[in-house]
Symmetry: C2
Subunit: 324 residues, 2 copies
């Protein structure tokens, strides 16, 4: 391990001068600085982050807490975060909160003990984290717009519902996974807001909802809007069993544009979260707070993007309905 002292001895100057030369902070003649820089790189000098952290009180590390690392959005989130973090010269320490609020706060504590400079938290359903001694950015929660960055789930729901009503559907099933989830509720309410008042709309939840949806289709529903690609995939399976074809008999949509959505059969119409923007914005919020900057109204939600594929089409009997 080659330290400032080694370089200092080697070049024949003091440690402080070496430090100044390398960081460009103090007063060093340009030629000496040059000589030091060259020698440092020759010796393969790497500054000790531990020493820096100790002296400055900043570790240059951010903590990332997710409720469930197997959440399909985690990979993309992690990737974008790590790229954005790399650009800002900070590292990302991950922690899993295994879905339970208790382990969430334990995970937070662990990260704090590791000396993270800030936290990025995707909170449990309905659990907002306690006030923390370091800056926090919360993802996918609209509760505290100051610290949070979230996809516009309501807008996304509206987007896809508008697409569906626009191509002529009037008897529609909305299918959610878990009524406790704030995110899923937002999506459903967004859908509801975009559907015309003359439409016949039914909302179902959970596993039982899938069978209910099939019954609804038998009763004339022409579209099923789910709050997750996973639910859509499951629904698709049941529809095959029930001999109902997509999109001829019924249109089907997902949510999140997961990896398998484009290669489903038919390719799934869905709505994509702009994970990149969300992650980048979260990093920005955190870094700005750490530097003490006042950030200018980053609180808005990030719009979602409609991805129309093959699982939606006008209802086969839409013309009849319009004539009636």
């Amino acid at each position: 391990m080659v330290s400032l002292k080694h370089i200092a001895n080697d070049v024949g100057v003091s440690v402080a001068t070496v430090s100044n030369a390398l960081t460009g902070k103090g007063r060093v003649s340009e030629q000496l600085a040059q000589r030091i820089r060259v020698r440092a790189s020759e010796l393969g000098y790497r500054p000790s982050t531990a020493a820096r952290a100790l002296k400055s009180g900043q570790s240059g590390i951010l903590g990332l807490v997710m409720p469930d690392l197997t959440n399909p959005l985690f990979p993309r989130m992690a990737q974008t975060l790590s790229i954005a973090a790399e650009r800002q010269q900070v590292g990302i320490l991950i922690a899993d909160s295994h879905g339970s609020p208790k382990t969430q706060s334990r995970a937070l504590q662990q990260l704090l003990d590791r000396g993270v400079d800030g936290l990025i938290v995707v909170p449990q359903k309905g659990v907002s984290p306690d006030p923390m001694p370091v800056p926090v950015a919360v993802i996918n929660t609209a509760s505290d717009p100051e610290n949070s960055v979230s996809a516009d789930h309501v807008g996304g729901g509206a987007l896809i519902a508008d697409h569906i009503q626009h191509i002529g559907h009037r008897h529609i099933v909305l299918l959610g996974g878990d009524p406790v989830s704030e995110v899923q509720n937002d999506r459903i309410s967004g859908m509801l807001s975009a559907l015309p008042s003359d439409a016949l709309v039914r909302v179902h939840w959970g596993v039982g909802g899938i069978q209910a949806a099939i019954a609804e289709v038998r009763a004339g529903a022409t579209a099923i809007l789910t709050t997750s690609d996973l639910i859509a995939l499951q629904m698709r399976s049941e529809l095959i069993d029930a001999q109902i074809s997509v999109p001829e008999d019924v249109s089907l949509t997902g949510f999140d544009d997961m990896n398998f959505a484009p290669i489903m059969h038919p390719a799934l119409t869905t709505v994509a979260q702009d994970v990149d923007t969300i992650a980048a914005r979260a990093i920005n919020i955190i870094c700005a707070k750490i530097r003490g900057d006042t950030l200018d109204a980053e609180g808005e939600t990030v719009p979602m993007r409609l991805v129309v594929r093959d699982s939606t089409s006008p209802p086969k009997n839409s013309i009849n309905r319009r004539l009636s």
Copy 2:
């Protein structure tokens, strides 16, 4: 930030005594130690990892480098690693190498600069990392059995091929994604090894392989064995278009047991990596090396597990074949 010095002043002893009392290393009378511990916890003392790292030269942090964080195995890997790491009191710093060997070595360098104590690397296809100044555990590479832990891809291939031949298939297509991938080659060769010599076997690769497989099915093939669930899903789509039903007309298998495999239609027969064991073993290797322990022959591969679901069945004409 409350430090040893605060506690020392508060209790009226020296810093060294406080340190000894809390770590239990020096010689402190039990009653004094008790008093110090109580006071420390009252003041909410948290040892500074930075100072510890500086003094000891160990950061207590492991680096995890993956070729692509959107890889579907990453979440489970990250989750298990983070749990195992938590148990061993170490943190996990993630880095993405975006698929390119160049950024892989940059990512490694970045982690080293952050002072990680060890590295867990899932290397690029065919790229083995340079010798490193810290212990390294390589995942899914059989090249260096000393440092590496890998799923038994060959065995997994054999497992699924054996299942297929066992239920009567004799005309079989093997479908790989990328012939450059060592992992996929292992899987294919495992399949080949388990198929009886009287079977008619064809191997196809890449996107063109999907159409080739369909042609093969038209020519009498009764099973398609892919090297990835994603390929299987894609194949499934094309089979629907081609009016070929699964598993009645053709059996289909995947690899990896990804999240969507059980909810595909029909639910996909596949082979699961024991990610938990792999991750735990990687952590063990790293921690043992860091402590300087000699580890006892952990080099073996981790067996895979066959998951039989609904996408495989005996070929409809298997009886005819057996009679002939």
